[in-house]
Every structure is written in structure tokens, then in C-alpha cells.
Amino acid sequence: MSATGFGWLVLVFPIAGMLVCALGYRKLPGHSAGWIGSLAILGSFAASIGMLFDLLDHPEEERELVDAAFTYFETAGVNVDLSILVDPLSVFMCLVVSGVSFLIHVYSVAYMDGDEGFARYFAYLNFFVFSMLLLILAANFVVLLVGWAFVGAASYLLISFWYRRTTATRAGIKAFVINVIGDIGLVIGAFLLFDATGALDYEGVFAEVNNAFSTNDGTLVAACLMILVGAFAKSAQLPLHTWLPDAMEGPTPVSSLIHAATMVTAGVYLIARTHPLFELAPLAADISAVIGTATLVFAATVAVVATDLKRVIAYSTMSQIGYMILGVSVAAYGAGLFHLMTHAFFKALLFMGAGSVIAAMAGNQSLDRMGGFRKSMPFTFVTFTVGALALAGFPLFSGFFSKDEILAFTLHRGGGFVVLAVVGYLAAGLTAFYAFRMVFRVFFRPPVSEARELEHGHLAHADPQNPATGEPEDTGVGFPGPEHHIAERSWPMKAAMGPLALLALVGGFVAVPGLTDTLEHFLEPTFAESRFAESVPSHGAEYAGLGVGALVAIGGIALAFFVYMSRRALRLELRERFTTVHTFLFRKWYFDEIYNATVVRPMTAFGVFGRNVIEADFVQNTIVGGTVGIVRAGSSMARAIQSGYLRGYAALLLVGMTGLGLYFLITAAG
């Protein structure tokens, strides 16, 4: 089968899985919905591998294959097909997405055990993977937008999965609204491009873009900025980032899939895909780089003080995506995408580990209450630490190679980018710090009661409650199920976390600079015509970068050890001394408060106004009531004719006759 044939298969499997789980949700026995879902994604992964091999069969110049299923619409000047593009970039993304998704599905089979919405969950999850794959494989802006919107919808469905929790539904709405803002940006950007180039498919647009625009042309910059709005909304960058921490209300595997490996990387993918545009509008690319850097620093600072385990990991996602955005904005596409891949591995792993720890804590997510799980949960401890080491960029782990490659490229660009690179290194230090803050607080130090119970083989139980607000819940439909599974006791969880840990460990060796440039080489055909293709930092510079990165990572880990293990009291002292700073960071730089005051409150007020005044008074009373009143009045006037009064009828007859006669007289005379 050809590569594009495999491409269609990649899309068909998740849809089939979704339909089976969705339509048969009542009938599927036991865990079969979970296995069906997982098998569907495994099929996708297999098809992706097929795509890969077939693509490699083609010579390098021909590694861009487009296939159209049918014509969406064809009008004057606009031809849009439902077509997919199989090239190294999309194959790479498909492999990462489907591979990691498969492992997360397997993990979810154990995690969501006992939940009333088990089949619904897998239907949603398959739908999500389908949308993401559609987004990746799209060959034109229309299909991209379809996938983009579906991904937003799927993320809403999954974040508010436990829909009877008010915090969850609110978080889902928040995510969806911000995603829609991104959608609008993307649509406007696509429209601007269409307006100038007359094409909607990537090939057409990218071919025309050099003719249609000059460098830094106003319209092109505007279009790129609009695309950036879309990318930032999806990837949770400043200022459209507020939905990501709240999105932790969803089940942990959802966080692991959507907010680590796939959806948030869609923005990075988008910028990489539309790189000809950004290269022709360096202003937009520079803005993107600056925002990426700002986000990575912001998120790192907030992660240092956050107390909810999942939120720390969420902020670290935001930060790492900032690195990726920085990478693709400085035209280090290979590096950026490499980091995407390694991040998918270790972040998904971290979330899975967090899920296991939270299960051991019987649903409690607060770091303040955790400690000392090292002895009772060895498997979780090892995998979590591997993930944290990768995140921190400890030498030889995967994150080490990918993150530092981005920073090396950034430095190489010179000029203002040096500042960004320095900031990036500082934030890397912070990253290592907070990563190990988590490790030390959760696994080291004296064990808490739940850990001690677990050491005796007894998994803690607690009354179900909302982890954020503490209000009690039940375990019926729309709430989390009664079961808690930890990795040590559940083979699907182990089966998922193990390979990811391995990949987090060795994944970096795919692209060691100077030794194995496989990834870079593989992605070359997509980025061949980039004007930065030849501008690569020298091996020496790269090794120097790696060295600096290693130092920074080890320094961060050491600092964390110092604060959290040796001088525990120091932490509280620091907090008291720097209360304002601490509050500022704890409140996430007051972004939520600002948005609440400037956007949410006015909008809500307008909505209330709309309901009370516009809807009730104006529409209901005046327009509708008025119309009704007029009709009533008219009909009661008409009804008066039917009085049953004989003489009235006779009078009417006579008058009518007279009138008719008059009419005839007049027409005859005239």
C-alpha cells in the first residue's frame, strides 16, 4: 500500500474505535471498550510505521505526497479537497502522537476502571486522537481547521469528563473559549493568506507566497500573527495560557495525552508547517520567539511555588512548549520537533506517575500532604525520577539533548537572540529545580500516613471529594469512579509507563549532534527550502551548549536537594521573607485575576444585561408581545364582524352591494 493509503488508515482506525465505543457503550462488557480503543490506536501506530517505511522508499526529493479523498467544494476560484499530506513532518508527528496515545490508552484501561463513563471516555479519547491526526495530516487550511476545531471540542469533552463537578465544567468552558479565540485567529490568518495567494492548500500557498508578499509585508505579518494567536491558544502560551492549569480537572491520562504530548504541541506543529510564511515575515517569527521565551520563564517561576502536583507538571508543560516555540521560531525546526518528541515521552510519563501517586493518596493532589513514597511505590518512584531527570535535562537523558539543541541554535542566531538563549538557560535551571522539588517532596522525606499504610500493603481510601475545593462527591455517573489503582499493582499501568521510561532514557540518542543526526536528516525534505537550512551551529558550539546545559541542570537539582532535603527550614524562611514575591508567583502572576476583571466580568455583565433587558424587555415584551398584541387586536376587530346579529350582516351586505355598484359605476363612467 502506498504511503497515502497508510495515511488514510491512520485516520480510519481511531474513528472506527470511536464509533464502536460510542454506539455500543451500553453493551460492551467489562473493559472491552478500553481494549477496543487501544487497539484502534495501535492500528494507527502500525499504519504510521507503514507510512514511514513507504515514505523512506521514495527518494528524498519526492517525499511530499498529497492524496485527495474527494472534493469538499469547488466554486469559482476556491477548490478545496479533503486531502492529506504525507511528508516527513507529518509522518514524524503521526508516529509520536499515535505511539504515545497508544500507551496512554493502555494506562487508562487501568486508571479509569470502575468509572461509570468508561466507554464514553474511550470514545472521546479516540475522537481526540482522530482529530489530532487529522490536523497533522491535513494538506490544506480547511482540513487543518476542521481538525483544529475537533481537537478543541474533544479537549472540552475530556476536561469536563467528570461533568458533575462544577470545577471541571468551568475548566472545560474556559479551555474551549480560549481555544475558540485561537480558532478565530487561525481562520482570519487563513483568509488573509487566501486573499493574497488565491490558494488554500499548503503547496499552493507556499508556492505563491514569495510572489504575493515581500519580506515583512504588513498583510503577511498580520496573517502570521493571526496564525500565532491560534498556535498560542492551542499551546497555552502567554497570554492565552490560563486554561492549561485549570484543565487538570480532567482525568490524569487526559492530562497526559492532551496536555503533554498532543494537543498543546499542535501550535508547534502549525508554526513548523507554515514555516515559509514565518521565514518571509521575520517580525512575526521574532515576536513568536519572544513570547515563547516569556512563557517558558513565567511558567517555570510559577511551577516553583505551585502546590498541586498536577499543576506543577502542567506549568512545566507550558514552559517546555515555550522552548519548542522558541525553537521553531528561530528556524531550528529539527531541534524544536526533537524536543517535542522527547517531551511527549517524559511528560506523559510524569503525568502517569502523578496519577499513580494521587491514587495512593486516595485522590488528594496537594504536594504539602505527600512524602516518602519511595519505599512503598518503587516502580512509580523509578519511572517518575527518570521522567524528572529527562525534564531537567540531566546529561544523557533525552531532554538533555533536545533542550540544549534548541538553545544552541538560538545562540547561534546571534543578536537579540542571545538574550533569549540566556533566559532559556536560566529557566532550564529553574526547570531542574522544580522537577526535583516534586521528586524530593513526593518520594523522599519521612513517609506520610498513606505511604506507611502502603508499605504494609494497604492502599489508602478516603471519601470521594473534589481535590480542588474539598467538597464531598459521590461515585456515580459524572464523577470519578470508586477505584484507585497504583502502578505497582496494575499491569496496564506498568506496561504503559515502562516503555515511556525507556524512551525518556534513550530517546535522546536519536539525534546526538555530530554522531547521529537521524532526526534532522529525516526531516530535511520538509524544511529543505528554509533559508536557515544551512545555518547550523558548529559541532563545537553544540557541545559547548550541551556542557552548559548539563551544568545548569545539575545545579538546579543540587539546589533543590539543598532546599528540600538538607535545609528544610530554609524553605519556610524564604517564603516568609519574600511573601510578596511568593504570593505573586503563587497567584500565577495574577493573570487569572486580570482576565477575570477585564474580560470575564464585563462579558458576564453584558450577558446578564442581554438576558434581562434585551431578551426580556426588548425582544419578549416589545417585539414578540407587540406582535402578539397587534395580531390579537386585529383579530378581535375582525371577530366583531361575526356578531351573530342578523341585521348587522344584512347591513354589511347592503353596504357591500352599494360599494360594488359604486365601483362599477365609476369604472364604467371613467
Partner: protein, 172 residues
């Protein structure tokens, strides 16, 4: 001759409308009918004049007299007659008269200002009517007799007493 008969007819008509007692109205109509028969004679419709007197004034009005005697009809009704229509009725009618006159007198029909066309000698005689009825107007003739049958049946149906149906007391 015309004016005499015309005045009589008109007087009878006005009498019908204005007289309070329905009995007097019936008598007034009878007078009106007879004067109308005279007018028919003036128009050389002899058979019709005879039919008018015999059938209309004779049979139909007698029926009316019976019913008026039976039903009565009060002399003075409880409320003043008519309300607004007491004035408006004649007003509308007056408007209609004016209009019709305008139509008639302003019309361009030929012969309207003359006594009429020359008619053959047998015009309006029973023989002539009879031959017309049985030749040209056979279908209307038959239809009219059918109509009479239906009316008779209807009258019988209306007049019969229904068994089992109590006569209702009507509130004042």
C-alpha cells in the same frame, strides 16, 4: 294610470316598513301586491299579473296572515327599535337608491327612454308563457317544481314535534 298604481305600490311598501303592528304590515303588503299587478298589466304581462294576484297575494299572503295570527309579534318591543340601525338602515337604503338611479338614468341602454320595443300581439298571454315554459325554459320549470317539493318537505320537517325533546323554558 301609471302614477296611480306607482304611488299605491310605493305607499304600500312604506306601510310595510313603518307600521308597528305586523298584521297591518301584512295587509299593507297585500295592497302593494295588487298595485304591482296593475303595473304588470301596464307592461303587458297579463299572465304574470294574474299569477301575482292569485298566487302571491292570494296564497302566500294568506299563509302569512295565519302565521301572524299564531305568532303574533308584540306591538311594542321591550327596547326601542333598532339601535343605530334604525337611522343607518334607511340611510344606507337611500344611498343605494341614489346610486341605482344614477346607474339607470345615466345608462346608455337604448330603448330605456321609450315605452319599449314593438311586441307581437301574443306577448304576455298565457299561451305565450306556456309555450315559453315548455320549450325554451323547460329545465328551469322543472327545477322550480323540484324546489317547491323541497320547500314543502322542509316545512313539514320544521313543523313536526320531536318526541322526547322537552320544550325548553327560556329565561326572560
Amino acid at each position: 294610470m301609471f302614477f296611480l298604481a306607482g304611488a299605491g305600490a310605493l305607499g304600500g311598501a312604506i306601510g310595510v316598513v313603518t307600521l308597528r303592528n305586523p298584521f297591518y304590515s301584512v295587509l299593507s303588503l297585500v295592497a302593494h301586491l295588487i298595485f304591482l299587478a296593475v303595473l304588470f298589466l301596464l307592461l303587458q304581462a297579463e299572465f304574470l299579473a294574474a299569477a301575482q294576484v292569485v298566487v302571491y297575494a292570494g296564497a302566500v299572503m294568506v299563509l302569512y296572515v295565519f302565521v301572524v295570527a299564531y305568532v303574533g309579534g308584540s306591538d311594542e318591543p321591550l327596547r326601542p327599535e333598532g339601535g343605530a340601525l334604525r337611522v343607518l338602515g334607511p340611510l344606507f337604503a337611500f344611498v343605494l337608491v341614489v346610486e341605482l338611479c344614477i346607474a339607470l338614468l345615466g345608462s346608455s341602454l337604448g330603448l330605456i327612454d321609450s315605452p319599449g320595443a314593438d311586441v307581437p300581439a301574443g306577448f304576455g298571454t298565457p299561451a305565450e308563457i306556456g309555450s315559453l315554459l315548455l320549450r325554451r325554459f323547460l329545465v328551469p320549470f322543472e327545477a322550480a317544481s323540484y324546489l317547491l317539493l323541497v320547500a314543502a318537505v322542509g316545512a313539514v320537517v320544521l313543523a313536526r314535534r320531536r318526541r322526547g325533546l322537552e320544550e325548553q323554558e327560556v329565561g326572560a
